[in-house]
């Protein structure tokens, strides 16, 4: 018993990730509104508030909220344009959707007593699989069989090419795995570590250290929340570029 040996400490770092029905008790059916649903919906509301109601004025000289909305827009727009090129801008709304959802789900998950949808493999896997399937289909539709050139490294010696093709193929199919686990793992790890530090605060002697550690971890987690959203989005852009221009 870990908690007994630690002098009555109770560690429940994973309890915060439990999916519960929002109203009353009962089974979690596919339609049940749960705490995950609530926080995803709050993320959607926050996005709407910022990007729709914040820009209601359509001001030439923006106010503060509109500046933030334009900052997000400009950041993702520039990212898509820089990484995938001009023809990638067609898919900008989709990339923006991903970025905004992940960013707001991450940030809202940092509120005390909240729930992070992005800490769940189920959520991030869906996001990653959507990107993976979308990009693969797009690659075949745009380039046909030429898309397979992505796996045939024409700059390598001929003897090495089959080997490289296998490696490229594996790395291609690992993409959604690492894509999703990176996000979920980062968020889950950060929240669990904060929870572990919080459990140490039960001992009066090390409580101050624990509080300082939680504060530091919280600052890091704010950074991680932004960086992981950014990384997820930029990797989406990179995969999109591979689909649009499979010149390898």
């Amino acid at each position: 018993m870990a908690e007994e040996e630690a002098g009555g400490l109770v560690f429940h770092p994973m309890d915060q990730f439990v999916v519960k029905p929002l109203f009353g008790e009962g089974p979690v059916n596919w339609y049940t509104p749960t705490n995950a649903t609530l926080w995803m919906a709050l993320a959607a509301l926050a996005i709407t508030a910022l990007l729709v109601f914040g820009t209601r004025g359509r001001a030439i000289v923006p106010n503060r909220v509109q500046s933030i909305a334009e900052l997000l827009y400009g950041m993702v727009h520039k990212m898509v344009e820089d990484v995938t090129g001009k023809d990638g801008l067609k898919y900008f709304p989709y990339v923006m959707t991903l970025f905004c959802f992940i960013l707001f789900a991450n940030f809202l998950g940092l509120l005390p007593k909240s729930f992070s949808p992005t800490s769940h493999i189920a959520v991030t896997a869906v996001l990653a699989v959507l990107v993976f399937v979308g990009v693969t289909v797009l690659g075949f539709v745009k380039n046909g069989a030429h898309f397979l050139g992505l796996f045939w490294v024409s700059s390598a010696p001929l003897a090495l090419r089959p080997v490289l093709a296998v490696i490229e193929l594996i790395s291609y199919f690992v993409r959604p795995v690492s894509h999703s686990i990176r996000l979920a793992g980062n968020i889950m790890a950060g929240h669990a570590v904060i929870k572990v530090f919080a459990a140490f605060a039960a001992i009066a002697a090390i409580a101050p250290v624990s509080v300082v550690a939680i504060t530091a971890m919280y600052g890091l987690e704010v950074l991680v929340a932004l960086i992981q959203a950014y990384v997820f989005t930029i990797l989406t852009c990179v995969y999109l570029k591979d689909a649009l221009h499979p010149a390898h």
Binding site: V19, P27, I47, L51
Partner: protein
């Protein structure tokens, strides 16, 4: 805690899925069967916390996957609809409007700058013209004044000359009368002297002698 999980695992597995999921902090109060079972297994720790972590990692609790995926897809569809229909066109429009306004303002500023340059050139020209005009007027005035001055000087000179001539004449007259007087006095004195010395003054001779003498003195 982990070993407890191991112990209670068979108990939990026997229960329906419902119980696994719904076991939460409140579950003990509701008196669910599993809560009793867990409490019986290890009453010291309280049933709630352990029952909550019954599936180990909540992330690997596959019974909630359908729910999460369904709601995620719904939320994503909503966000995508809001963004692509309302937010992104609006923000894009605002940004391009601003770009247009900035370019328009820059062009207007360029125009104003050009106008200012033209105005400055016109002002410079007017200033130069005014200066030339003023110079001309100054020169004309100067010439006029010079003329008047010359005329006045000439007039004054003439007057001075006239006055000088008059004075000259009067001086000449005075001098002539003085010479005449002196001569008459000299003649009378000479005649008186000659008579007093016992001679008989011949008026003609005396005059001639006096004139002879005076000629050198009066000249």
């Amino acid at each position: 805690m982990f070993s407890l999980l191991q112990q209670t695992a068979p108990v939990v597995v026997e229960e329906s899925e419902t119980v696994i999921i719904t076991e939460s902090a409140e579950a003990a109060g509701h008196g669910a069967d599993a809560a009793h079972a867990v409490a019986a297994a290890d009453a010291a720790h309280g049933a709630a916390g352990h029952a909550a972590s019954a599936p180990g990692m909540p992330q690997l609790d596959f019974t909630t996957f359908g729910n999460q995926i369904f709601w995620l897809l719904v939320i994503l569809a909503v966000i995508h609809w809001v963004l692509s229909r309302i937010a992104l066109p609006r923000i894009g429009g605002v940004i391009s409007d601003r770009q247009g306004a900035i370019t328009g303002d820059l062009m207007a500023a360029e125009e104003f700058k050009q106008k200012a340059k033209e105005a400055e050139a016109a002002y410079d020209k007017a200033l130069a013209d005014a200066r030339a005009e003023a110079g001309k007027i100054v020169a004309a005035n100067k010439a006029e004044i010079q003329k008047e001055l010359d005329a006045a000087i000439a007039h004054a000179d003439a007057e001075i000359a006239a006055r000088a001539a008059e004075s000259e004449k009067r001086i000449g007259e005075i001098r002539a009368s003085a010479i005449e007087d002196a001569r008459n006095v000299a003649r009378e004195v000479t005649a008186a002297l000659v008579e007093n010395f016992g001679g008989k003054a011949d008026q003609g001779l005396v005059d001639a002698a006096v004139d002879q003498r005076l000629k050198g003195a009066l000249q």
